[in-house]
Each structure stands twice: as C-alpha cells, then as structure tokens.
C-alpha cells in the first residue's frame, strides 16, 4: 500500500512539473506576442511620423508668407482644394505615390468644429480576404496645428491626423 502511494505521489509530482512547463511555455509565448505587437505598433507609429513630415512639407497644404513656410500651419483653402485633388481620378495615382496607403485628415477644434479628410487610401480588403484573412493596423498620430483661413484672414486651432495602413 505505501508503495502504491509512493508511485501515485511520483506521478502527481511529474504531472505538476509538466503543467508548470506548459505554463512556462504559454507565458513565454504570451510575452513574445506582446513584445511583437508592441514592436509592430512602434513601427506603424514611426511610419506615421515620417508621413506627417512629408505632409507638412507639401506646398499644396502648408502656410507660407512670401514663400517662407510657417511652422505647423496649414492653409485651409489649400487643404480643401488638395482634398478635392486627391479624390480626382486624374490625380489620385500621383498622390498615392507620395502618400501611399494612409489617411490624412485635418480637424478644426477651436473656434470652429469640422473635419477635412485630405487623403484616405485603404488597401483593397475585399480582394485580399479571398486569398487570406488580412487585417491592417491603423494607428494614427495627432499633431496640434494652426489653420489659416485666407477668406477671413484668421487663424484657428486644429489637429492633424496622420496614419498609415500597415499589414
């Protein structure tokens, strides 16, 4: 009888050890995927920062005085015109080369309230879904900006939203 108990105890210890190992493996996997997702997020945000710099340097949208750029300022009328241009079929391809799969939007916060979607080009999900299940990360960054309205000669506060669609 004591011999039987000994074997039983040994088996229980072994199974506990195996469970522990399993748990350890699962924990390692969880940490690995957490780090991976953090890394992907960081990469996506880096892409967005790069794109924000490109957008801010575009003469189509930036404010200028005697051709000198005004830091973190967007010209409202130019932004509206550019938004129309990026949706125009003739120029869509051109702006895709500059901005790729991304979204650029400008939101007026004060005194007015409104949003202008300057550019939005999402990868064709419907086509991709038939090949494999693909999801795209969209983690935008927000930059405070000023908006200049030339028709009233006034400035307002706003936010520039820039994000890339990454696999």
């Amino acid at each position: 009888m004591p011999k039987k108990n000994l074997i039983k105890n040994k088996l229980i210890t072994k199974s506990r050890k195996a469970q522990m190992k399993m748990m350890e493996n699962v924990a390692v996997m969880i940490i690995f995927f957490m780090l991976l997702s953090l890394d992907i997020e960081k990469y996506v945000q880096q892409q967005a920062v790069k794109l924000a710099k490109v957008v801010a340097a575009l003469p189509e949208v930036r404010c200028s005085e005697e051709n000198v750029p005004v830091q973190d300022c967007f010209d409202l009328l130019r932004v509206e015109e550019t938004a129309l241009k990026t949706k125009d079929l003739n120029t869509q391809r051109y702006y895709f080369e500059i901005l790729g799969y991304s979204r650029v939007a400008i939101e007026e916060k004060y005194p007015g309230n409104g949003i202008i979607e300057v550019y939005d080009n999402q990868p064709n999900l419907a086509q991709a879904a038939s090949i494999e299940e693909i999801t795209f990360n969209y983690i935008p960054i927000y930059i405070p900006i000023t908006l200049f309205n030339a028709t009233t000669n006034q400035y307002s506060f706003g936010v520039l939203e820039v994000g890339t669609y990454d696999k």
Binding site: A57, P59, E66, L77, R78, R93, Y94, A150, T152
Partner: protein, 404 residues
C-alpha cells in the same frame, strides 16, 4: 594451372583498381559540382541581398529628400553599381540585378550610372516663384566635374562652382588652361564632365568637336555641357555633348548628345530673387549633375507637371479669396482687399500678360506652364512669374492674404 589462376587474379585486381578510380572520379566530381553549385548559389544570394540593401538605402534617401531641402550629405555605401533612366533604376547587373520604379513624383538629377563607394546626396527647392518641389541630386564622389570659364563668364561659373557641395569632386580652370589640351588629364574617374560657359567667340561653342582635350581621355566616359545664360542669368540654355569616336576619322571628339545641336539644347528655368544667395539655379545644377539628356528632359517635365498641380490649387484659392472680398461684411472687404489687389496694374507687365487676356497672373502662369510641358524649347514663364511676384508684394503691402 596455379600460374594461370594467379594471372587471372592479377587481371581482376587491375580491373578493380581501375573501377575504383572511375568511382573516385565520378563521386569526387559530383561532390565538387555540389560544392561549386553551393558557392555559386551563396554568391548569388549575397549579391541579391547586397542589391536589396542598396535599393533600400536609396529609397530612404529618396524619401528623406522630400522632407529636408538644402542639405548635402556624403554617404559611404557598399560598392555601388546603379544605372538610372527616367522611370527606373537598376541595382547590379542589368540581367540579374534588381530594378525598381522611380515613380512620377520623384525628381532626381543623377548621372546615368552611379559607381563607387561614396555618394553625395543634396536637395534643393525649386521655386517658380513659390515652392514647387525639392529636387534631389545624387552625385558620385568618383565622378569628376571640371568647370571652365572665360573672362566674360568668370563670375557666373565661379558662383555655380561654389554652389556645389564641398564633397563633390570638382575643379575650375580658365579657358586658356583647358584649351592647351595638356594640363587637364584623365585621373581614373569613371566619368568626367566638363561644364563651361564660353562666349560665342570661343572655339568649341559652335562646334564642340573643336574643344581640345588630352589624349588620355580617349575611350573614356566624358561629357561636355556648354551653358548659354540669358541676360537675367535665371534662365538660359544648356547644350549637352558627349566625347565619342568619330566614325569618319576614327578619332575621339565631342559630339552633340543627340543628333543635332537643337535636339541637344535644353532650357534651364530658375527663379533666383536677389535676396536668395545659396539655393540658386536648381534646374541648371540638374543639367550640370546629370550627363544624360533623357534624364534631364524627363525630370524637368516632371517638375512642370507638379507645377501645374500646385498652380491649379493656388489659382482656385485666389478665386475664393476674390469671391470673399465681394461679400458684404467680410473682413477682407473692410480692409480694402478687393479684386484689384490680385491683378496686375503695371502697364508693361499687363502688356506682357496680353496673350492670356486677364490681369490675374495665376491663370496666365498656369497656361504658360501647360505650354512648357509640350514645348520645352520655347518655355518662358518669367513675365508671368514677375507679374505674380509684384501682385504678391502689393497684397503684402496692403495687409491682404498673400498668394504664396
């Protein structure tokens, strides 16, 4: 009988030895082929890897140029071998290398082949009169640029020479030194480009094949650019020639890059206001840096296309401002920012805009740029540009919203 048996055994052993050798040769050969194949495969893989690295580095350079203009950097690279044309670039060999499209938005002035381990990257804004785009210049350190001036063009050529970044392999000579045909000799650079602005009286202006050059340059990749500035020096013409073998006398001479002088002559279109001292002559510098007429023509047309896009946005904006000035109670109307503020009043400038039948210079500039895209040789946007500058100044003086 025993003797015969021994003889047979001997024969058998001989055959076995021979079979062993054959076996060794076959198996050895297979092993050798296997390892040679492995090494070749490995070499191909590492070359492809290197080419991909170069392509990625170039892509990073292209992207960063869109953000920071006016900066020049000397970059150490792996041993480069990159060929460029208007639409693509090829890293490595043509047949086994990697090629990638440049797209329609990148404006890069580069020789048709980049070679060597160091590369100067430089970007400059192109303003006409407002910012249109940043030009990117890729200049191999191993390419030699030799500037030649005469008494009438010394100041102009020296200015251009000093504008180029210090890391560029550049030299400057007076025409008499160039003309003696012995002082300037080949120095192992894979490409050499002569840049001159010579008065019409100088030899080699009307016929480049009379330009004297040392024999050591024979058979090498040499090109020649003669600049003919207009009176304002902002615009002018650049005549491209290459050093090639003349089939009639088997001697090396400068010949027009394309069949005729007209076909080898291209405009450069820059707007350099007096207060700008550093970032001047972006299109002329493009003609200097590239040695290929196709690349220069293509990039210039691309820049004009972008001009059209931006001008159409600016034009619509001014129309909206003008509409606003007509509305009662609009702050612009109260400040006397009326339609006339955005129109040319100077009779001479008005006369220059005559062909487009409007006093607003933006639609005129837009129309001129459209014409330029089709007819680069007769492109002259300066009257419209100067009218636009004066209108912008008038708006500024009256505290009205500026055009640019």
């Amino acid at each position: 009988m025993f003797k015969n048996f021994k003889k047979r055994l001997h024969k058998k052993a001989d055959v076995e030895i021979q079979i062993n050798w054959i076996f060794i040769i076959i198996v050895g050969g297979i092993i050798l082929i296997f390892f040679i194949g492995l090494i070749t495969k490995q070499k191909t893989v590492s070359t492809t890897k290197l080419n991909i690295n170069i392509r990625e580095s170039l892509d990073t350079i292209f992207t960063s140029s869109q953000v920071a203009s006016g900066t020049a950097n000397l970059i150490n690279t792996p041993d480069l071998e990159v060929d460029f044309d208007c639409d693509n670039y090829y890293v490595g060999e043509f047949d086994s290398g990697i090629n990638k499209g440049l797209g329609q938005t990148r404006i890069i002035f580069v020789p048709d082949r980049l070679q060597g381990k160091q590369l100067v990257t430089w970007s400059l804004e192109w303003n006409m009169p407002y910012k249109i785009v940043d030009f990117l210049y890729l200049i191999p350190k191993e390419m030699r640029y030799i500037f030649v001036y005469d008494s009438s063009t010394k100041e102009f050529i020296e200015e251009i020479y000093n504008l180029l970044p210090k890391d560029v392999n550049k030299e400057i000579y007076e025409f008499s030194i160039f003309a003696d045909g012995t002082t300037i000799q080949y120095t192992n650079s894979y490409k050499t480009k002569f840049i001159a602005a010579l008065s019409p009286a100088s030899a080699c202006v009307n016929s480049p094949n009379t330009c004297p050059i040392h024999d050591s340059f024979d058979g090498k990749d040499i090109s020649f650019l003669n600049i003919i500035p207009s009176t304002n020096k902002e615009s002018g013409e650049a005549v491209f020639s290459i050093y090639s073998k003349d089939q009639t006398n088997n001697a090396y001479d400068f010949n027009y890059a394309r069949t005729t002088e007209d076909a080898s002559t291209f405009k450069y279109i820059d707007y350099n206001p007096d207060f700008v001292t550093e970032k001047r002559y972006p299109t002329l510098l493009g003609a200097i840096i590239t040695d290929n007429t196709d690349i220069y023509e293509c990039m210039l047309k691309r820049a004009l296309k972008r001009h059209s896009y931006i001008t159409s946005i600016y034009d619509r904006r001014v129309q909206q401002i003008i509409t606003a000035t007509k509305q009662d109670g609009n702050p612009l109307k109260q400040r006397n920012c009326v339609e006339g503020m955005y129109e040319v009043t100077d009779p001479i400038q008005l006369g220059n805009l005559g062909s487009c039948q409007t006093a607003n210079p933006l639609p005129c500039l837009s129309a001129t740029i459209e014409n330029c895209k089709g007819d680069l040789a007769n492109c002259n946007p300066y009257d419209d540009v100067l009218a636009l500058v004066s209108v912008n100044k008038k708006a500024q003086d009256n505290s009205c919203p500026l055009i640019y």
